[in-house]
Point group: C2
Chain length 410, copies 2
């Protein structure tokens, strides 16, 4: 196989390699730093097999996520992950970065959904870990070494995925809330009432709503509130799901968890409301220079960090705003200033990463470490864990040819 030959040659000649999928990384994981040879998955775009009874898809690493989802859709199946970058990201890159996305809350993470992998080691050796089975307890579960290791331990060439049943219906509630405490109360009540049909819980703060109003002229359909929640359900019977969602919203209103709310069932309105949330990142370039962070925080600290940073930045920031996948504790926190200023960067970092660590959070929820966050790895992780990571790297890629300068700052 070609990737094996390329890596064998590069390893023998000590040539560094940068594996590249759709090149959508936002931490510089998929771009070469110095003189690495880019090996792209682009031409590895074939579906190997697709079983509509078991829902098992096997495909090459360069298949585009959205293309796969469209093919599956015809068989009433879906990919278990969905990202903003779905139109260009490759499944091999998704696996290598352990991509998360919008509906992890419902369908779980890739460690749970990837059944098998074919991987080429740095020395060109092909590892056949391409199991297509949901249960397989025969020896160490090696595939997980390569899920989320950002192309530094091996080159993923084929992927087997367990695909869930595509929902027949989706509904949405858009809610306005007064306090972050109310946000948590509503979250907890929603998990209880909506349980099996819950597919996304997104939070948007008022400052994020200001940003989309100012730059894109998009408005909250229910007036202004300090916090907004977008709660999506996915299920198999429309009337059942609407009944559950309506009675949940009524209950939340009655208990004063929420101040206002609307339930949207019509597909075009459903899209409109989602686009408020999805278009927040598009405003960044109009907002000046934006420092973007991707944290996971325990829910009790989730919004505390935004408040804290707003105070910490004072008038140095134009705006500090937060939104994200509340259901997974994943916060996208932004600090906007007029134009880039290295002093302000130094003022923010590493301070913000330290605070996240103190709050028992993660400094990279779904984006990975890549090149940009490599210098913080040893700051945030248990030193014994970092040593084990380094020893795995040394053992699997002794010449260090695979995606150098990523994850570890050597």
């Amino acid at each position: 196989m070609e990737v094996s030959k390329i890596l064998t040659y590069c390893n023998e000649n000590r040539l560094a390699v940068c594996p590249q999928g759709g090149n959508t990384s936002i931490v510089g994981g998929s771009v070469p730093v110095l003189d690495e040879i880019v090996v792209s998955t682009e031409l590895m775009n074939q579906i190997v097999s697709l079983d509509d009874v078991s829902g098992v898809l096997v495909c090459e690493a360069g298949c585009i996520l959205e293309d796969l989802d469209n093919k599956l859709s015809k068989l009433d199946l879906m990919m278990p992950l969905d990202l903003g970058a779905k139109g260009s990201c490759h499944i091999g890159g998704n696996v290598s970065t352990n991509a998360g996305g919008l509906r992890l809350l419902r369908y779980g993470n890739l460690h749970g959904n990837i059944l098998g992998l074919e991987v080429v080691k740095a020395n060109g050796e092909i590892l056949d870990l391409l199991s297509m089975l949901k249960k397989d307890n025969t020896g160490y579960h090696l595939k997980h070494l390569f899920i989320g290791s950002e192309g530094t331990l091996g080159f993923v060439t084929k992927v087997a995925v367990q695909c869930p049943t595509k929902p027949k219906t989706q509904n949405l509630a858009f809610l306005g809330l007064e306090t972050y405490e109310n946000v948590l109360e509503t979250f907890k009540a929603g998990k209880g009432c909506l349980s099996e049909i819950l597919s996304a819980i997104e939070v948007i703060d008022n400052e994020s709503m200001d940003v989309v109003r100012e730059h894109l002229n998009l408005r909250s359909p229910i007036g202004e509130y300090p916090y907004y929640l977008l709660i999506e359900t996915s299920g198999s019977r429309d009337e059942h799901d609407q009944e559950k969602l309506n009675s949940f919203v009524e209950m939340a209103l009655a208990k004063r968890f929420i101040l206002n709310g609307t339930v949207v069932t019509e597909p075009s309105k459903f899209k409109d409301i989602w686009s408020i949330r999805e278009k927040i990142p598009e405003t960044f370039k109009r907002e000046g220079y934006v420092f973007c962070y991707d944290f996971t925080l325990p829910l009790q600290n989730y919004y505390k960090l935004v408040h804290e940073m707003r105070q910490y930045m004072g008038s140095q920031a134009r705006r500090v705003f937060g939104f994200g996948h509340l259901g997974d504790g994943n916060l996208h926190l932004q600090i906007s200033i007029k134009e880039f200023n290295p002093d302000i960067l130094d003022y923010i970092e590493p301070h913000i990463f330290n605070r996240v660590k103190e709050m028992k959070g993660s400094i990279s929820s779904e984006h990975g470490i890549g090149f940009l966050k490599a210098k913080y790895l040893s700051m945030i992780k248990d030193p014994n864990a970092v040593r084990l990571m380094q020893s795995l790297k040394a053992s699997l890629d002794p010449n260090g040819i695979l995606n150098p300068y990523k994850i570890f700052r050597s």
Copy 2:
């Protein structure tokens, strides 16, 4: 910490250690082979924290699965796994063996549900991988090295688990079918119609039903058929779930996928029907000597193996019968004979494992390799993968003190 001190001492003095949880392994994974020191998790039975908003439980490795589930139940949460051995198995053992069980179909596997671990390495070093976060992409995902490695790479001392919402209602359909093709048609239709509320699909063949009738006087409530399916739903609204399940059974009858079926909503009847399935293993000791196998097979080959083995055994076997977690492709295949006979064992093995390999299945779906299947590891796995497993073992436990003779036959 005590485990660290024990392992440090044992490692320095080259003393072998057998980590032991509830000692429920059926492949000899948790029992010493020669002179290993048994280190039990029994006294590590404290809950460290439990957050009812996020559903994150942190506990010590010796907590009993059922005890944890009972505690969670009071907060409308549940453990994401459920096994026959729940009354005695320890969560640390569940993690170390990547336990599967009855509802993996719905709640996913432990690689997806375990958020973090504390692990003691063979040299006594404590690895703090105890993240409590759903998304955390910061470096290699080391915890997965220890999930399913059967205590050979490290000793799991603490566990963080993502716990789902406990369903408010459960219903059951018990169906009689003519052919295995009908079984697959019904399975596929059930995934489509029941989608988000589906929580178990179990298959029982007529020979398994004969066994429970003969030894326990339990009978199919719908008369005799070549195959039976037990389809369980779990959800948040009883009337919605019953409506879905009833209309699914009506459709399956109308399409002649099934010959007969009953929907059970009353809790005591629900238990009675589940007990037909759950009590099959209790009959083994009355059946004579039973060779028990735990395979995963692609669905098109799932029952083919039972037919084949019935033919292969001919009059040498008293009975060849199959049942299992169809939803996960997990088949429990039994061959019963009057009394143990080594010639028959040699006739069955390794033949049966070879056939499973040829059919692209797994020779151990959920039970693991342990001691009993170690000699087959190299037969069934890619040699490059086995070499990588051995190099991981050598690197993490250079003196080979952790659970020797398990997984690898050295």
